[in-house]
Symmetry: C2
Subunit: 346 residues, 2 copies
Amino acid sequence: MKSSVTLKDVAKKAGVGVGTASRVLNNEANVSQDKIERVLKVVNELDYKPNTLARNLRKQSTRTIGVIIQNVSNPFYSSILRGLQVEMVGKDYSFILSDLHSQEDSIQESIDTLVDKRVDALVFLGSCIDEKKLKQISKNKVPAVAISTAILTENFDIYKDFCSITIDNKKASYEAVNYLLKLGHTKIGFISGVEDDQNTTIPRTIGFKKALIDAKVSINENWIMNAGCSYKSGYEAMKQFLDSNIEALPTAIFCICDLTAMGATKALVEKGLSVPKDISIMGFDGIENAFYHNPSITTVEQPRYEMGQIGMQLLFNMLNKTPIVNHHMILDYKVIIGNSTAKRQR
Amino acid sequence: MKSSVTLKDVAKKAGVGVGTASRVLNNEANVSQDKIERVLKVVNELDYKPNTLARNLRKQSTRTIGVIIQNVSNPFYSSILRGLQVEMVGKDYSFILSDLHSQEDSIQESIDTLVDKRVDALVFLGSCIDEKKLKQISKNKVPAVAISTAILTENFDIYKDFCSITIDNKKASYEAVNYLLKLGHTKIGFISGVEDDQNTTIPRTIGFKKALIDAKVSINENWIMNAGCSYKSGYEAMKQFLDSNIEALPTAIFCICDLTAMGATKALVEKGLSVPKDISIMGFDGIENAFYHNPSITTVEQPRYEMGQIGMQLLFNMLNKTPIVNHHMILDYKVIIGNSTAKRQR
DNA sequence: TTGAAAGCGCTAACAA
DNA sequence: TTGTTAGCGCTTTCAA
């Protein structure tokens, strides 16, 4: 048996009621000093460890937070996770991690499992939640925060125990492309994410196109390619581009995320082309890898660490019924200029 | 109340005993077809969801596995995590993640928390466990597997519910350095990990030194630097090297891990030096980043994905009391030749 | 094959 | 301030 000393044993040996013993262990008021000491002494002697399972059942809570993450291997998400963790230190909560591994369709199963496991709260990192899922978590009274996650609903406000944190993806990609335009590029391609990805592909494509339209630069649909957010997908998408003659290539390519941008860069270097001389490459997210890459990647930095911290604060506020001023936060991003972009040369 | 339909409600409405209802839900034999159907029908009507917390208490198990990970942001560990996940699909277990964030001293607290939470098993990724910790998990009857983790004990064999998976770190770093020697380098430096890190620094330093000694090449202690496993620590360690005159620099540097190697490369590129022309850089781990880096990093690949898969298989064997042939596996590594190393030129 | 009932170990309401 | 007791919702033993 796992340390089969129970509270009853402790109470008996200390000569107190089991209620009193429980009170001592939970630091409740209204217990005499004498009994506190007696109980604590016995706890020590018997090496008593409360049974969390019994406590969970009684309290219908687990002090556990479910995290549904798009892909742990993507530093963008693991940085947010880090932010969450840091804010959780000393709070006696734990994370149950459910990694979607970029498999968007498994999110429903993840939610079901975590709700079944009676997590006290839910965090979404990436992916997409719709009205149905919102209703499900609301019905089950699970407070939730969605970070960098697409939310498909017209009415946030119905859901009082739901918060979100994101940046304005349309505007951010608009600005990214604008930066390329300012460098004189007019032949601009886009290595995009998974088709129909509501969180990244859709809004960033809108921003991309709007920037070109506003600048009266023509959009070449052949230069817009669906790929994904990983080294590999960027690498392979760029290889497809390179099947064309160099003259037919864009002079700058905006990528859905930094990993994609770095993968694309590799394909260019392999072909003996230079970034940014032959082609400028721009990423998105602002992960550490991009900074250390050679060339360092020009990108749009999302405040990912902060996203995690704020997310966890909001979650604790919901858990503690502390009023929340702003349920839906849109944070600032920042264009970071690296060495992967340069003035148009062709 | 959260879906306050209980098994009792279901049993009553179906006109059966609560025991029978329970048997139906657990697919046990010896229940008449008639009752099975009646119960299932009511379950559907009432949208009954079993309360996991009650089940956990009753069974003294949680179908949850605690993972203590050195650093989720390090792709080496998150790849192992991926291997674990893949092997767990469909098994109805979940992960509680405890990230040490490279803070070696917080491991004891992590173990305590997870044991308190009554995880069914424990996985260690990185860091180091000693006799005391081994005794603790053994006493609590928590099966555990340690992957790429230092184990400080003379007697593995006492612990029947404990497995480990690793590579031979000494031999691997010996071979790595040998590769540099074969390229003609005799001035070889080492950007190492955190001092006294039993898992990486200690064994790899031994291998490093032995390779030089065996080749009768002198060891320059000034060229051995403690850093850590991250972009930043590699970058900064290399900047320290670069304070010296180029003539005083080694012609090749072995790094404790790929992140460190890439960080080091950045510092060189910033100084206008070329990798591998001016200095060859070699990493360790074989993560994806290293392959996509420019130049791609010559490294020692650990079978990290496989480590995770095998680890999870061993864990399930322990959980199911399936006999295990080999409790302590030492897997093969592979030297991967990239573009960050070249023949000695100075 | 089935139902009743006894816990799992804890917290919280109640009574003293 | 304290002890007693009634559950939390489930599984499993026992007797029928």
